[in-house]
């Protein structure tokens, strides 16, 4: 890690605070372009150091001004104030909100030559109606991570279908009432969305200039009812993922498994470092019948890099955005430091992606599996009001758990809120026919 000297740190700080001023006075930076870049990842400065070394005439200053869940607010504010960052990281789910607010630049021509190198599931998350608005960083192949030592102890087979999953959850409770197979978090709309992607639900889709909202189809409701049965029978825990309580439960083994994505191993390691080697990773269970049996999982997270619509250096900003998401050296650093699964297909051949992640050393095929799961993940789009949909879900699902009412009805509420809001805002939108 190259730590900037005091002088350089001070200059970076100045550049960050007075970026706009510096940019407005080319005399100060005669033949050197200054770019500001927002990203919330913990080790991002090490990746940026590589760029700055290789590109002395385009200097990038990274700022952790905003976390993943506040990027839309802060970018909107910076945009309104006239000094947004030239380049920013953004989750796939937030990207449409940035597009409709006019915050990000169209990068279709620059991205066109890369299309064949990028996983379709990721390409689809940044391209709407033929226009590409960001360059994808990674994808989110989903797994079921579980403590193989504990399942073996309880004499329970790892589940391959959701039916087996439900039976396993109940068997865990019967064998050891202090343990749960997993938790169901009312606050986790992203996971529910992904689990319904698996049965073919597409919460938003855009055809030409018409949006279709499809959240409460019969297949999706089946998924909701499946979880309702597990929650009401106390076969899964009701605790909220990522709460201190959940962290303690992962650490002491009272939660045996987690439905998550490719980047989970280091997160689990943070919570339970002494369980190294105890975890296994398998593809999500599948529905044995009906629509969506072909899908291995859904889309649950991941991020892309977007260029500001107001940047004074569009060429350089686009060049940097494409570099950080597609350059081999950049991605090698990204993978090493932040455990992403790159959207760029070439980068998946990186040597460190040919072996098991350090925390689950027995899973030799972990990354090979990631590619296969990716290929079997449905292509979905997020919509411009994803924030509203997820908020409605969290509130309605909390209510349903507290009142012991129907989970399937929750999806009806989310459908209605999402559709009505788009209609009110003036989108050309229809509801899917079921």
């Amino acid at each position: 890690m190259t730590l900037p000297t005091g002088v350089r740190a001070a200059r970076n700080l100045l550049a960050a605070s007075f970026g706009a001023v510096l940019l407005a006075t080319p005399a100060l930076s005669q033949d050197k372009v200054e770019l500001t870049y927002w990203n919330w990842a913990p080790h991002i400065d090490e990746v940026i150091a590589i760029w700055n070394e290789q590109n002395p005439d385009i200097h990038v200053t990274v700022s952790r001004a905003a976390g993943a869940n506040e990027i839309v607010q802060k970018l909107s504010a910076a945009h309104t104030a006239g000094n947004p960052p030239d380049v920013t990281n953004v989750t796939y789910g937030d990207l449409p909100a940035l597009i409709v607010n006019g915050l990000v630049a169209d990068i279709t021509p620059e991205m066109a030559p890369l299309k064949d190198q990028i996983a379709p599931v990721a390409w689809n998350l940044v391209t709407f109606d033929g226009t590409t608005w960001a360059t994808p960083q990674g994808t989110s192949p989903m797994y079921f991570f579980y403590r193989k030592d504990l399942l073996a102890e309880l004499n329970i087979e790892p589940p391959k279908t959701w039916e087996e999953f439900g039976a396993a959850a109940k068997a865990v409770r019967a064998a050891d009432p202090t343990k749960y197979l997993t938790q169901f978090s009312t606050g986790d709309a992203g996971t529910m969305a992904a689990l319904t992607h698996q049965v073919g639900a597409k919460w938003w889709s855009l055809e030409g200039d018409q949006w279709t909202v499809d959240i409460n189809g019969p297949e999706a409701k089946k998924v909701a009812s499946f979880w309702q049965d597990l929650v009401t029978s106390d076969a899964v825990s009701g605790m909220q993922a990522f709460s201190p309580e959940w962290g303690a439960a992962i650490a002491n083994g009272s939660i045996i498994g987690i439905i998550s994505a490719v980047w989970a191993p280091p997160l689990i390691q943070n919570l339970a470092p002494d369980t190294l080697g105890d975890w296994a990773a398998i593809p999500l269970p599948r529905w044995s019948e009906g629509v969506g049996a072909q899908y291995s999982g859904g889309v649950t997270g991941g991020s892309a890099t977007a260029v500001s619509a107001l940047t004074k250096h569009p060429e350089e900003a686009k060049k940097f955005a494409i570099w950080i998401t597609n350059n081999e050296e950049a991605l090698a650093a990204y993978v090493r430091l932040m455990n992403i699964w790159p959207a760029n297909l070439e980068a998946r051949k990186l040597p460190q992606l040919q072996e098991a992640p350090a925390f689950i050393p027995d899973e030799k095929n972990f990354y090979q599996l990631a590619g296969e799961i990716d290929a079997a993940t449905p292509t979905v789009s997020w919509g411009p009001n994803r924030g509203i949909a997820f908020d409605a879900y969290v509130n309605a699902m909390g209510e349903a758990v507290q009142n012991k009412s129907s989970f399937a009805d929750v999806l009806d509420v989310v459908q209605k809120v999402t559709f009505d809001d788009m209609k009110n805002q003036g989108y050309n939108v229809v509801e899917a026919a079921h």
């Binding site: 506040e70 839309v72 607010q73 909107s76 449409p96 909100a97 597009i99 409709v100 607010n101 006019g102 709407f128 109606d129 226009t131 009312t186 606050g187 855009l206 030409g208 200039d209 018409q210 949006w211 009701g238 605790m239 909220q240 990522f242 709460s243 201190p244 309580e245 303690a248 439960a249 009272s254 411009p384 009001n385 924030g387 509203i388 908020d391 969290v394 509130n395 699902m397 909390g398 209510e399 758990v401 507290q402 809001d421 805002q425 003036g426 989108y427 050309n428």
Partner: protein, 309 residues
Amino acid sequence: MTTPKTHAKRRYRAVHPLAPWLFVGPAIILSLTMIVAPFVYSILQSLRGIKVAGGGLGRREETFVGFANYVTAAFNPELWAGFGRMLWLGVITIPITLGLALLFALLLDTPRVRLARFSRISIFLPFAVPGVIASLMWGFMYLPGVSPFRELAANLGLPQPNFFTRDSVFWSIANINIWGGVGFNMVILYTALRGIGSELYDAARVDGCNEWQIARDIKLPLLLPALVLTGLFSLIGTIQTFSEPTTLAPLTDALSSTWVPMMLVYRDTFVAQNVYGGAASAMLIALITIVSSVVLFWITRRRSAGGMA
């Protein structure tokens, strides 16, 4: 700007016409830039709205919508449900906070009190903890699985309390407010008590009053203006409740993102990307705050004439 020198020359004349402005100037400038300007800006925002122009990912554009946002806000059942919850929270919080603050202030003000300074500081200390930090800390103590209270109950063979049901969550949040609020109010009341002349107490003691009677018949009536003030602060504080439920919400399904009115404003503004609707709801809340403060003053004015009221 006039320099102090010119003032010295004019010492025996009438006050320089600029002098009063110099004194009140900073306060006026601050309130204009920090309170009035944002307030006016919010009012202007609340009269505008968003319409999407163009197709699928068409641009969102600002348009003038008049009072449409106010109508939407006024007919939003969730806002009024939030006010209901806020009111219930206030009914729990305010009397207990003020009652405890009053009790501690009176106790600290009794003669021959031991450890006065230590008690005063330790009662005041929680106020120095920011609301978000306090909520995180208490949230940790409420969560099943890591709660020391639940562990204690289990070890004693008692039923384990659940701090996060739809009903108990009111008490859980009220507890954080009370824990953080007692010290501040106690200091105000205690300061008011120290301002009461000791000749009153001497006279009372000569007349044969004991400490309890002094507290009831002398201190309490003289404390009324301070109590009105702390009551007003508590009322405004209750209307502005935000950080505690917002911090606890991710830990439980008992708290929605619109649990109290301020959370609804935040949700509309930042999650739903509707600054305009958020501004209208915020204006309604401001109006209700102002009206309820005036009403409180009006009710208590006659009883606590003069002083701070």
